[in-house]
Amino acid sequence: MAHLLAEGLRFRHEDTPIHRLDPRVKLLISIALFSISLLTTDLYQLAIAFCAIAVPAALAKSLRRLGKVMSVSLTFAAFIFVINLVFSYGLYRSATLTLRFMAIVASTSLFFVTTSPDELEYVMRWFRLPRDFVFAFVTAVRFVPVLMLDLTQIIDAQKSRGLEMDKGGPAKRLRNLIPVLIPLIVNALVRSGELAEAMESRGYGAVKNPTSLYALHLKSRDYAALLVTVAVWAGVLLCFRVV
């Protein structure tokens, strides 16, 4: 399941109108969609919210990947549904709350699916977050696929030594994780040490305020997207009668 989530959220370079947008605009689109999802109260509004999410997702050719992320959140969604039902909010209300959760997941995922780790870094720097923090965060995001690869190779190696991961009771299964988690953690630590040395030898931290090769500039298509986003956002909110 973690694999599916990482696969769904992993950025892939694609050439679509959404991918080409300034990352700040993409963030704004996601925030707008997030706020719309948050404000939904009935199925009719949810339908509008899902449509609002589906259009940019379709433009970004990412409908299937969003679907993958959402299928992962299904377990949690089911949990929300059952809890609400148990506390007798009724079938309709429980379904609405559950779907709202799914909409929130989809709207936030859209940003991560269409924004490269590099762009993420530019956005965070634009918000004047501390450089070390930005670097650590972006590196963590970037290392997810690397660690996933490590994980599959480790699992393969231990299965070849007779480890049967889904055999035995809960206690045994927990113990089965040790041969997998220890190499994974050790490798991650070794790799982080190597990364630190490589960074230092390439002058990380040599100057307080390093310059950047790439600067964020809004182009006409970004302004257009901005306009459309604000218009749709305002329209939907009017429709929801919250204003």
Binding site: D150, Q153, I154, D156, A157, Q158, K159, S160, R161, G162, L163, E164, I178, P179, I182, P183, V186, N187, V190
Partner: protein, 269 residues
């Protein structure tokens, strides 16, 4: 009798890349076979089919006559032992000894039998002085030998080594070579995957060349290693002894340096 039988095996990765494309191969009992090819030729993907970690998208893989689709990885691994390239992906125990015991326990050996086999394998690989050491503190060569020992311990019929020489210095390579030779003498079936032909040459083993997921040649080492064009298109470097033999117009090629020296000495006027 063929212990491993691949028939038109194709494997397509989830992202659509074809990693294996119509591979057919028979490996007999007691045979030593080298699978060579450049990066991304599909060598490791092929190996993972041998113990069922991967199942073919089409075609069949039979191990001891039984389709791998009908067996679990654990069942297959009991007979086909795989040693992966990166030792750090499998070492996790507090002591080298526990590392060896791990596989033995997984395969259900009694504690007495496991202890006996552990003793044997440490002696066999000359690792006795490292028994109580933490595997992660060992040198690259020691780690590699420990990994091979940990798999050999349960005495699989087929031993598969994936790129055993990567990151190994010359003495370590010689030790690995020695290990393979001893397994050959014990009439084990050994499959070695490598792109280090210089290492493979003295083994004098049947060689399978892979390019882009296909087996492009399967023959005796003399034939394969003297085909410079084939090696070049596979991204491989000809062993120096073969190059020298070709330059001197001598066939078959020198098996080792002393062969070459003898021959040259005899030619002196």
């Amino acid at each position: 009798m063929a212990v491993i039988e691949l028939r038109d095996v194709a494997f397509r990765q989830p992202n659509g890349v074809v990693a294996l494309d119509g591979v057919s191969l028979d490996i007999d009992k007691g045979e030593v076979i080298a699978i060579v090819g450049g990066n991304g030729a599909g060598k490791t993907t092929l190996l993972k089919h041998l113990n069922g970690l991967l199942k073919p998208s089409s075609g069949t893989v039979r191990v001891f006559g039984k389709d791998t689709r009908e067996q679990s990885v654990a069942e297959l691994s009991r007979r086909v032992g795989l040693v992966f390239q990166n030792s750090d992906h499998q070492l996790f125990s507090e002591t080298a000894e526990a590392e060896v015991l791990f596989g033995l326990r997984n395969f259900g050996f009694s504690e007495d039998e496991a202890a006996k086999r552990t003793d044997e394998v440490f002696r066999y690989f000359g690792l006795e002085h490292l028994r109580k050491r933490a595997p992660l503190t060992l040198s690259g060569g020691e780690k590699k030998r420990l990994c091979i020992a940990a798999v050999t311990a349960w005495n699989p019929d087929v031993l598969v080594l994936d790129e055993p020489t990567v990151g190994q210095d010359y003495p370590s390579k010689l030790r690995i070579l020695e290990t393979i030779r001893r397994l050959m003498e014990a009439e084990k079936t050994v499959i070695v995957v490598s792109h280090d032909l210089e290492f493979l040459w003295p083994l004098w083993a049947r060689t399978v060349v892979m390019i882009a997921g296909k087996v492009v040649r399967d023959g005796d080492p003399e034939e394969v290693y003297s085909d410079s064009d084939l090696l070049e298109s596979a991204g491989l470097r000809q062993p120096q002894l073969v190059t020298i033999s070709k330059m001197l117009g001598r066939s078959p090629s020198f098996r080792n340096v002393s062969d070459a020296v003898h021959w040259l000495e005899r030619r002196e006027p």
